[in-house]
Symmetry: C2
């Protein structure tokens, strides 16, 4: 039985070994997409100066190391819009729904790639942190109108074996036919499990429960993330209206 799908842990340290990135790219492309429109593009970053700039945006230590492949998943309706020209009304490719469809496509493709990597004894880490400065990402990758850099992924041969983080109790996350009810006892047990995980892990042991982690997020540095609306609009996407 292949348990890799149940054993994900983020890998942030890789060996120098080269990996078969072309197969990974093919896996990403083979993923489901919304309306079969394949509304994403994929950029593999091999230039070290470019990677250093992305590392600075993300802040993730994994990017400051030389190993591993870096992929940026881009929401992309530009390719489709190019095929409709000349056409005056491209609302269905620029509205909130189109953006969301591109975000699905990009994220599904990323996870298909990561799951395949993990199944073949590679490892990786999702980098939501490229959203710290989307405008700079757009400039660095020369992204045209109707595209948006959504999320990054590092993949490589693992050079560390972190423990798996305990997940929320199923009773808190999964409901049958309706939203799950909140179970205080299950939550308290989970806080205990998370506290144990953080106390016992080798590198970076600390005092931390799930609740304390959530509360610290209240003051998380949003960097340039509150500018995403402006940036999306400048990229040609319509913002959702209340």
């Amino acid at each position: 039985m292949d348990l890799s799908a149940m054993q994900h842990r983020s890998i942030r340290k890789f060996k120098a070994t080269a990996i078969d990135y072309q197969t990974l790219e093919a896996v990403a492309q083979a993923t489901s997409s919304s309306e079969f429109l394949q509304s994403f593009s994929l950029i593999r970053v091999t230039d070290t100066a470019l990677r250093a700039k992305i590392a600075k945006i993300s802040g993730s230590q994994v990017l400051f190391q030389p190993n591993g492949e870096l992929f940026i998943f881009v929401v992309d309706t530009a390719r489709a819009i190019g095929l409709t020209e000349p056409h005056s009304d491209v609302h269905t490719f620029t509205n909130w729904n189109a953006f969301l469809a591109g975000a699905f496509d990009a994220t599904l493709a990323l996870q298909n790639m990561l799951a395949y990597a993990e199944r073949t004894h590679l490892g990786g880490v999702v980098l939501g942190s490229i959203l710290n400065d989307p405008q700079q990402m757009i400039d660095l990758l020369h992204l045209p109108k109707y595209t948006f850099p959504l999320v990054g992924l590092m993949v490589g041969v693992p050079d560390e074996q972190p423990q798996q983080k305990p997940r929320l109790p199923q009773t808190l996350v999964v409901g049958e036919n309706t939203y799950p009810t909140f179970d205080q006892t299950a939550m308290a047990d989970y806080d205990t499990a998370v506290t144990r995980y953080y106390a016992e892990r080798g590198a970076g042991a600390r005092t931390e429960s799930f609740t304390s982690l959530v509360r610290r997020h209240l003051t998380a540095n949003q960097q340039h993330r509150d500018e995403i609306g402006q940036i999306l609009k400048a990229q040609g996407f319509e913002l959702p209206q209340a």
Copy 2:
């Protein structure tokens, strides 16, 4: 070699055989999540009357058949916000970035579940079509504030073997260090490949290229999708500002 990750095709017809849905749920929960906040919930729909209502919203034929498990993936920052109470400023759990993080978490979990299903000889289809009427989905599933029904997934034992749809040429989708340049010849070849696929497939053969499919999307029925902004706001999420 396990090729399932490269051979996805959407399955819309399932056998009556029961599947191990609990393992699938555990796989979804084991997925990467943004900041380890696990900002999604999962609802398994077993009630036939409820399923019939969701079928009407989605319009997807797969839901009008009795077989297969239906999962709804929900963006959820309500659980985290509950852990911060009493707290006056929950901006980091309600802003656009928090919604996007929840959308990542939900979509990554869905694809991890689907990839695992396909690897174990099950099949499935992603149902973006639940967004046709998000408010009704919210009401049907009793979703509280700070949650949003993002996407559905049907999984089961395949009772059909559709052909795989050809994907866009890699040269159009994947760039190295920069956005890929548009290659007209590659696009024309792809249109030919897609036309052949639609002409040759058994059920539902039709005249269709990728370009014609894209152009028809210009007049796609948006149903209630342009209301998503209002609905998100009513659910407690802040909309991106230009």
